[in-house]
Structure formats: C-alpha cells, structure tokens
Amino acid sequence: MIKYIGQRVIYMIITLFLIASMTFFLMKLVPGTPFKNQAKMSDEQLEMMLEYYKLDEPVPVQYVAYMTNLVKGDLGTSYQFANTPVSELLGARIGASALLGFQALLVGTIVGIILGVLGALRQNTWVDYGTTFIAVIGKSIPSFVFAGLLQYYIGVKLGWFPVAFWKGPEYTVMPTIALSMFPIAIAARFMRTEMVEVLGSDYITLARAKGANYFEIAFKHALRNALIPVITVLGPLAVSLMTGSLVIEKIFSVPGLGEQFVKSVQVNDYSVIMATTLLFAFLFIVVILVVDILYGLIDPRIRLAGGKK
C-alpha cells in the first residue's frame, strides 16, 4: 500500500511539473501584454513595467525563475492589482470557494445517494422514474443555466434568498443548490445502478433466505456494498465542482477563486491565471489520489489484498 501511494505521489509530482511548464509556455504564447486593459501607457511606461516585472528577459530565464519561485511557494505578483502577491490574493478567496464546494459536495452526494437508493428500492415505480428524471435533468441542464433560472425565479421573483454576494449563511443557499445539481444527478444515477446490481446479487438472496427483513437487507447488506463504489465518483464530482464554481461564483458574485479566475482571464492577468490553474490542477490530482486511497481503505477486498490496482 505504501509503495503504491509513493508511486502515485511521484506521478502526481511529474504531472504537476508538466502542467506548470505547459501553463508557463502557453501563457508566453499569448499575444499582447498583461497591461493591455490598463489606461493607455506610453511605450516608455510599458517598457518600465515589463522591466519591473522582469518580462523583458529571455523566456528560458523567466521559466527558471518562475519554477524556482514556485518550488519556494511564491506564485508571483498580480499584474492587475499592483504588488499584491498572488498567494495572498488567492488565499483571501479560497475560503469562500472551499465552503461553497464543500457544501455542494455534501448536499450533492447525500441527496444523490438518497435518491439513488430510493429509485433502486422502488424499482420501476413512479419513485424510480421520478428520481431518474431528476438525474437526467441535473446531468443535462448546464449549471449556469440552472443558476440563472434559480436567481431569477427564486431570488428576484419570489425573493426567498439573496440574489447575490456572500455575507452570511443565507447567501450560500442558492449557489450551493445550483452547484450541487450535477453531483446530485451523478451520485443518484451511480447509486441506483450499484444498488440494483447489489440487490440482485446472490448474497442478498442468501440474506433473505436467512430470514432478514426488508430493512436489514436494504441497509445492512445492500447499502454498504453499493456505497463503496460511489467513492470512485467523488473524484470526478469534485472536479465538476471546480468547473461549476467558475460560473456559479460569477453569477452569484461569490468572492471565490472561480470569480477571480474569470476576471483574470478577461484582463490577461497571467500570474493569477497560472497560479489558479496550478491550484486547480493540484486540487484535482490530490482529490483523485485521496479517493483512490480511501477506496482501498474501505473495501476489504482491496484493503487486504495489499492495495493492488
């Protein structure tokens, strides 16, 4: 198991290195300077700016400098907000994103699992069709469309929850709902399939033959076995939350990483784009790794087989 984790961590570092390099060179390919959106500058001013940010040096030199700083944990300074270190900028915003993402993942998996289990236990009844319908809708309707509709009908027309900003728990309700639609759909669908398969397995028949009642079968025998594989979708779900957070944060004006990223993209703030990209990639890779390890810990078949993959 330890050998396996070690191997995975090495892969992770290689991937991160590649992503950092790729991000860097791609950014260098972008035409224009990061100062294009600021008040018109004279050529001299521009040169001074370029020199100040060491953007006039040859690309390989810049690359080495960037990578060395990165290892030290220095993500550079923002061009948009003069002299603000990127790490500080992102640090101030990570809280809102983390809270939103966590709430959405929690709501998404719990509601999704409940829907999936209900659908499987009431197979081919209106309960099942209803949950399947919710899953299809949730998977199909883009989160920003859903968020827009939510904001208009629940926020503006009905006025139940604040339309935007991030000033307290009630402000998190609509963004969380909008962001959790996709996880709900995926978890519900996956859970239903797993649960149906488990309920049809021989050991469930044996449990019935032992005289177990409906609840013992559903919860003691089936649920645990069906839940284990659901861990595997947690990774992709967390990733989908990152994608979703970009638009959801923009729509509800949540001061998070996603909103920052969208803004930076619009003004070519390279260092912020690169840092956010790396942060996303890092989170993505860590989540996948954690999920894999978790899976190995929970499933006795994998756990005791020594983490073979």
Binding site: D202, T205, L206, K210, A212, R224
Partner: protein
C-alpha cells in the same frame, strides 16, 4: 414416516416481455422427515423455481404463484405474510446456493454472517451467538475457526466458502434444508468432500433435505428418494433404487442412458435429442413427446396422469396405461432393470 413438507398442484408463472412463461405447471411432491429428496432435471425444468417458491424468494415483480399450496407443518407457505415468512426462513427452512463465490456478502466478516440468523431467530446474546458461530465453523470442518471467524469471504477458497454457507444454513437447526446445486460450481474433489459433509451433518442434526441437481451421480450418492422434473412438472418420483433400476418414464430412461458409466464406456454416450419445451407456449400433450422416440398419438393430445408403479413410485407416462403397447427400454436401462430385485413386477 410423516411428511414435513408437501407441495400440491403448484403452478408458477413468470411475466416477461414475450408473455407468460408457465415455469411450473402443477408440481406435486412431498418430503418426509429425515430423508433426502433429490430433484433432478435439465436446466429450465423448474427445479430451482420450485425451491425458491418454497422459500418465497421468487421476485415479486414478475412472478406469480397461480395455484396450489405448499404445506409446511400444516401451514400453507404461499399464504403467509412477509413477516411470518421471515421467521420461517433461516430458522425452519434454510437454503444453500449454487455458487459459493457470490453467495457471501463480500464486505461482512464470515463470523457476522453466521451470527446474523442466530441472533435473529434464537434471541441469543452476541457473545453466545459468537460461540455458536465458531462451533458451527468447526462443525463444517473449517480449521482455526476462531481466526477464520474474523475474516472476509475473499480470504476463503470456494470449497471453504460453501462450508460457510452450509454453516449459515444450519445455524438454527432447520427442519428442512434446501440445497440448490450446492456442488455444481466446485471442483470434483471438493464436491465429494461437501457431499460427505452434508450426509454427515444430516445424521447429526436430523434435518430433511431437498437436494437439487442435474447430476445423477450425485443423486445416487446422497438421496433417499428422487423426483425427476421436466417442463415444469414432476414426471417420475420414487426411491433411489426404483428410479435407477426400474425407471418408467422415457425421459428418465434418457437421463440414465446418458449417464457415463465404467461398463458402457466403449459405447457412444446417449444424448436425448431436441431441446426442452418452450414454456411460453407449453405443448398440449406430454411435454416430452416431441423428443420421445416411444411417443404415441395420445401423447400429443393429452397430458398423462401419474400412474402408480408401487406405493412409493409414480410416473407420468401413457406407456403405463393398460392399453399401451409394451416397449423395450434402451439397452442401458434394460441392463439396470435386470439387476433390480423386483424386476418381474412389470
């Protein structure tokens, strides 16, 4: 001998996209106290469905008991509520399944799975149930039972798992044990061990066994009586000797002729021609008639009733009708008949 279980005129249908499949079409048999009844037949003949019906384990969504009764200790199992049935399953009647690789819960320790019915049906404390479970593991011949108790199914071999399944089935000393092809998925050497174990245990705890198999060799080994199923019906039933040495139904003849035998090794092994009947549209007369080289006109028109051969032996074939012509069974069957002490009675 008293009957512990009696199946009368059982009719079961499955509702499929294609239509109603009449899987069991009037099955009649009984199980005596302390005996082993083997039910033999090819796949699709309805043996598994019959036993699942006794346990009421058929899927409720698409199956239906159309007619008949299953009497156990004077109660009709087909009429019991789910709750009442739960108190019978695992306690009074228990079951062993075909594939030990899939019939244990992979995420629950073996010990817990054995303890489950004990705690449920016998109101034992956890520690007492654990004691009992370890005893059971020893009883079914699992070494180092205390250690094994804590392990998961994937740490057991196929034969060992089947022993565990047997231990679960025997946990509450059931009156009836249904074994649905318990050795089919196992290696031949393991098969023999499991059969020995079952015979041994039956003596120890005095239970009645319904043993389902398609392997006549196994039947000869374990059964007291044999029921032959074909097309959703019992077509011949009798003691082991009667079925093996004095079979009456042409289908039973076919089964016996197709059994490999040291003496007949040089001869070509017999195969029953054709395929099992389509139970979506069951044939009008004898279901076996289209594959029967002895078929008579009446076989195509009317289903044969059960003709009595002896007090314990019945067969559903028109050949037993007084007006039917005498036919010569296949050579392999003749050879056996000659060995049978009571040969001259027919």
């Amino acid at each position: 001998m008293s009957k512990i279980l009696e199946v009368n005129n059982l009719n079961i249908s499955f509702h499929t996209f294609a239509g109603e499949v009449k899987a069991i079409r009037g099955a009649n048999f009984h199980l005596n106290k302390g005996e082993t009844l083997a039910i033999v037949g090819e796949s699709g003949s309805g043996k598994s469905v019959t036993t699942k019906a006794i346990m009421r384990l058929l899927p409720e969504s698409n199956s239906e008991i159309k007619e008949g009764e299953i009497l156990f200790d004077g109660r009709d199992l087909t009429k019991l509520s789910d709750k009442q049935m739960q108190s019978i399953r695992g306690k009074e009647i228990s079951m062993i399944f075909q594939d030990p690789m899939t019939s244990l819960n992979p995420t629950m320790t073996v010990g817990k799975q054995i303890m489950e019915p004990i705690i449920k049906h016998q109101n034992m404390s956890k520690s007492a149930a654990k004691q009992r479970a370890i005893e059971l593991l020893k009883l079914v011949g699992i070494p180092m039972a205390e250690e094994r108790f804590k392990q998961y199914p994937h740490q057991f071999s196929g034969g060992m798992r089947q022993r565990v399944v047997i231990a679960i089935a025997l946990a509450c000393n059931p009156k009836v044990l249904i074994a649905d092809e318990p050795t089919t998925a196992l290696d031949v050497t393991i098969q023999a061990q499991i059969l020995e174990l079952m015979k041994d245990l039956q003596k120890k705890i005095d239970t009645s066994i319904i043993f389902i198999t398609h392997d006549l060799g196994v039947v000869a080994n374990v059964a007291d009586r044999v029921a032959v199923m074909y097309g959703g019906k019992i077509i011949e039933i009798g003691t082991v000797d009667e079925i093996f040495y004095n079979p009456q139904h042409p289908y039973t003849w076919g089964l016996i002729s197709s059994m490999p035998d040291l003496d007949t090794a040089e001869d070509e092994l017999y195969a029953i021609p054709g395929s099992p009947p389509d139970l979506l549209n069951p044939p009008m007369g004898d279901a076996f008639a289209p594959r029967n080289q002895y078929a008579m006109k009446i076989d195509l028109e009317k289903e044969p009733p059960m003709f009595k051969v002896s007090d314990t032996h019945y067969a559903a074939t028109w050949l037993l009708h007084p007006d039917a012509p005498k036919v010569e069974p296949p050579a392999a069957v003749m050879k056996r008949k000659e060995m049978y002490p009571g040969y001259n009675n027919k």
